[in-house]
């Protein structure tokens, strides 16, 4: 048998994570569904790792073989993506924190 394509392993991680997500999200109390949306918003901005790669395209590497100058474009859109994702990361986590701080138990 030939070697398994690494993409299959990534697919396995992804599918397992969908199952983890399924069970974890069902256990979230309905009272916290709004903070859930805010925090999932924040964590999906981990897409910033792609933006960081884009913003540093071509640094310390020989010019690309096709020489189409795509690096400059990549750095511009990468920087815009960093800004957008940062709005979400800071905004998402902080607004979640603000909401969660409001949930209080009865004073006895």
């Amino acid at each position: 048998m030939e070697a398994v394509d690494p993409t299959i392993y990534r697919l396995a991680i992804f599918v397992l994570a969908v199952f983890v997500g399924y069970y974890v999200v069902w256990s979230v109390t309905p009272a916290l569904h709004t903070p859930l949306m805010a925090v999932t918003n924040a964590i999906s901005s981990v897409i910033i790792v792609g933006a960081l790669l884009a913003a540093t395209a071509g640094v310390g590497a020989p010019p690309s073989p096709d020489g189409d100058g795509g690096e400059g474009f990549s750095r511009i859109v990468g920087t815009i993506a960093i800004i957008l994702a940062s709005v979400n990361i800071f905004g998402g986590f902080l607004v979640t924190q603000r909401m969660l701080a409001m949930y209080k138990k009865k004073e006895r």
Binding site: T7, A31, A38, A42, S44, E71, V87, M99, K106
Partner: protein, 467 residues
Amino acid sequence: MSANLAALLYLASGILFILALRGLSSPETARQGNLFGMVGMAIAIVTTLFAVNLDGAGIALIVGGVAIGGGIGAIIARRIPMTAMPQLVAAFHSLVGMAAVLVAAAALYAPEAFHIANDVGDLKALSLFELSLGTAIGAITFSGSVIAFAKLNGNMSGAPILLPARHLINIAIGVFIAVMIAFLMASGGDAKTAFWLITIAAFILGVTLIIPIGGADMPVVVSMLNSYSGWAAAALGFTLENTALLVTGALVGSSGAILSYIMCKGMNRSFISVILGGFGEDGSASAAAGPQGNAKQGSAEDAAFVMKNAGKVIIVPGYGMAVAQAQHALKEMGDLLKAEGVDVAYAIHPVAGRMPGHMNVLLAEANVPYDEVFELEDINSDFSNADVAFVIGANDVTNPAAEDDPGSPIYGMPVLQVWKAGTVFFVKRSLGSGYAGVENPLFFRDNTMMLLGDAKKMTEEINKAMG
């Protein structure tokens, strides 16, 4: 940093994100969970910074980008009123969608930076497929969220906009996107025009998918777009071969899907029928029939007197409370009642408000302890023991027709059985029907008293009368 170490750190950050969601199972652990999420994000960012080659310009772009974006985000998070949370979440979704589009474009133009190019600078067909999906879903998320934002924020009417042959249009755009993806894959990444056509078509699809969905179905739309933003991130996680992104995408994708399911169940509607849109249109015929019978109207003094002498009062808030910002006055009313020895509880319907958990956040903002707030299944049997049900800004979620009138458009929807309480007070602006255009027969029953007026003003008057 070695690639293996980086991969392990991304895994750690993925696990911290799982723990962040796990924390939300109870308000006690939620704050710690949020902290886990922040740490996970920090690990992912720092790991990436060690893995890439940095030059002066790169550092400036990154620091500047994070400072600008982070500053804006922090200011928004601090200033946004809690009632504006649905539109804020929609706006945040649109940013994730746009970021996905931009990252996919960068990966296409500079594949070397993403380590996905072959020796001649071409991309694997599989990578092209992944980033096409990333940009398509990202673009749908972006434009769909912009529409959702405009509807929630009142920049656009919440009424459904029904294009002729809209299903056909959507299918045609979908087929076009699929053909363009195949074309881009066959070109080895050289057909950059195809990429932009995919993106533009998906932007259009996002608009045509969301405009036919009415304002009251927004909880489903917001959840659905939440799910899309996750799937877009996951698609790019495959391109970037990044575990943190894959795990996050899967978590967010399933989270949004589950919330959509819960919202649909709360309305007894199928997901498909919500997506196809147009709800609230066909109901207009029955609304035109006008109110039947006589509704009893009461004053704030009547309500104050009855509630003061009650043993148990259950408060049922709805979207009208959010619009009127009546949550603080409501909490004061609850306190006054408790001071009179009345047992006070709050009942929340799953689709009350404009997003999942909307009412809970507003009550929490007004300092209502969360253990006085109950979900539908937990409190529905208590209405028969309650002397008063105080319905403020809610309507359809209390409509008995959902249980006993098979002809009603909302028949089968789970409702709060407020009519089982001794007296029902309805705080409403008018006797009109709810969003579904459905008449509420409860308004005309003997034990119902209508308190017509603005939710906040009426509650304040009751508080004054009680004092």
